[in-house]
Symmetry: C2
Subunit: 298 residues, 2 copies
């Protein structure tokens, strides 16, 4: 594997180029919300979604510079969702990625606007990329991201997560929430990479299996870390799920069973990678991301 293709180098590539997508607006011109958005975007995190997008695109023969606007857009969408999820009316969280959450730092109104603006900026970025070069593949990639972020995906999942009456069927609700709230955008990131590279149905199907299994185990690991880690290590409030009576894989099934499902899903993701490899694809980077996610402690 060349240095070019390691997950770390892809993450560094995102971190380096992301700020340039934000418009520089003076505070006197209404730039406080943009400043708040820049703050949340800069605080960082693992950049899993854009790294997955770039890695998949590269695997399908697309240069990372070509995929960059799409990767930036998916990280903007993810970051907006964190800002809004942390709001007092939602999860009411003051800590995010080891620093004050957006509304804790900039006030509630600016955090709402920062989220709105970031979501919108994701689409400004995608349209600009399409104006530069419009192909059916690039359009399909953009549409994939948009669908996953909306009512049928992430927004619907967060709504479901906040709804108490739905927890009457907790097993069903738990998987439905995960699939929409976190799974949809992870799957869309991978599939957008595949669309950019005009991947065929076979490869897209295998990548969907990979992404769905990886997304589910990613969520379960988050649930596990909420009880196994500390706020200092994790950079967000821990132990909160049980306290808030939140439905998670750990509060529902207990830690040991959650570990078992995690391992089973990671195995499923690995199997999908082996199939892709058997089909002649170069899965080294995706496998390195898999390994990183298996071992992560934050």
């Amino acid at each position: 594997m060349t240095a070019e293709q390691s997950p770390d180098s892809l993450k560094a590539y995102i971190d380096e180029h992301l700020p340039a997508f934000l418009p520089a607006i003076a505070k006197a011109d209404g730039g406080t919300a943009a400043e708040a958005a820049a703050y949340s975007l800069a605080v960082g995190g693992k950049r899993i979604r854009p790294v997955l997008l770039l890695a998949t695109a590269q695997m399908c023969g697309v240069a990372k510079a070509e995929a960059l606007p799409f990767a930036a857009a998916v990280e903007m969408i993810h970051t907006y969702s964190l800002i809004h999820d942390d709001l007092p009316a939602m999860d009411n969280d003051l800590l995010r990625r080891g620093r004050p959450s957006c509304h804790a730092a900039f006030g509630e109104a600016n955090a709402i606007l920062a989220g709105d603006g970031l979501l919108n900026l994701a689409y400004e970025t995608l349209f600009e990329a399409l104006v530069v070069k419009s192909t059916p593949e690039r359009l399909a990639a953009a549409a994939e991201l948009a669908r996953a972020a909306g009512f049928r995906g992430m927004v619907g999942g967060q709504c479901l997560d906040l709804s108490e009456s739905l927890h009457e069927e907790p097993d069903k609700a738990l998987y439905a929430i995960q699939r929409k709230k976190t799974g949809a955008l992870i799957r869309a990131a991978v599939l957008a990479g595949a669309r950019l590279g005009a991947a065929g149905d076979d490869v897209s199907g295998q990548l969907t299996d990979f992404a769905d299994a990886l997304g589910l185990s990613f969520q379960i690991k988050d649930d596990l870390l909420d009880v196994q880690s500390t706020s200092g290590t994790l950079g967000k409030t821990t132990g909160k799920d049980a306290r808030d009576g939140k439905l998670t894989f750990v509060t529902r099934y207990g830690g040991r069973e959650a570990e078992r499902i995690f391992a089973a899903e990671m195995a499923r993701a690995r199997a999908a990678l082996s199939e892709l490899e058997a089909g002649g694809l170069f899965v080294t980077t995706l496998r390195a991301i898999w390994r990183y996610l298996e071992q992560r402690t934050v």
Copy 2:
């Protein structure tokens, strides 16, 4: 003028087709936010932005069915902004278009998500329209709307409106807020119609003059109606601007001077229409919209 082209028939066309753009999601699948969005979208209003878009597109030779997804998107963007503006952390308003505002009816979390989902749905709608038929003109129209809605437009304007320190230069702030918060999307609606019809620079310039003057007078009329009308007539809380110490054309300059600026801007808009007409364009519908806005009492 045929019945086809009256502002009323264009508004009826929007009202008829808008609901079909919303995804039908069962409540059990996280559909409460979508239901809240459908509520706010159905409550109606004047549909000025989509009517302007359709009228301009028709003037530039584009059939209304072709322009419909763009018109629907601009109304979704407008409605999301109303939902978020009404939130407790923003303007804190319980009444909108004669009925409870979105968060008054569905709770704050659902209103935040309904707004997020509607904004996203605008872009899902645009991408779907582009997948069906991708031309540089349609892409330019979509990009025009996206730019106007973001940090450099509507989001920046709302941020400016909430910022107290900026009111140190009230005249400058007042015009800057209007230009971004309400003006940008009205201008974008008109220009998107022009882009769809591949209008040249001359026509686009005249339409920009028309839209900017119309947008400014639209805002001034809103400010005037806040003091001249009643909540019952207007369907939203009136007399609120002065009570909240809000910077408006009326609180800043007084009613008489606001009336004078309104009339001057309406004259400027009419002059732009005459120029378009002199260039051989059929401005009957835009003129009818102008007349409706001049006389409106709600």
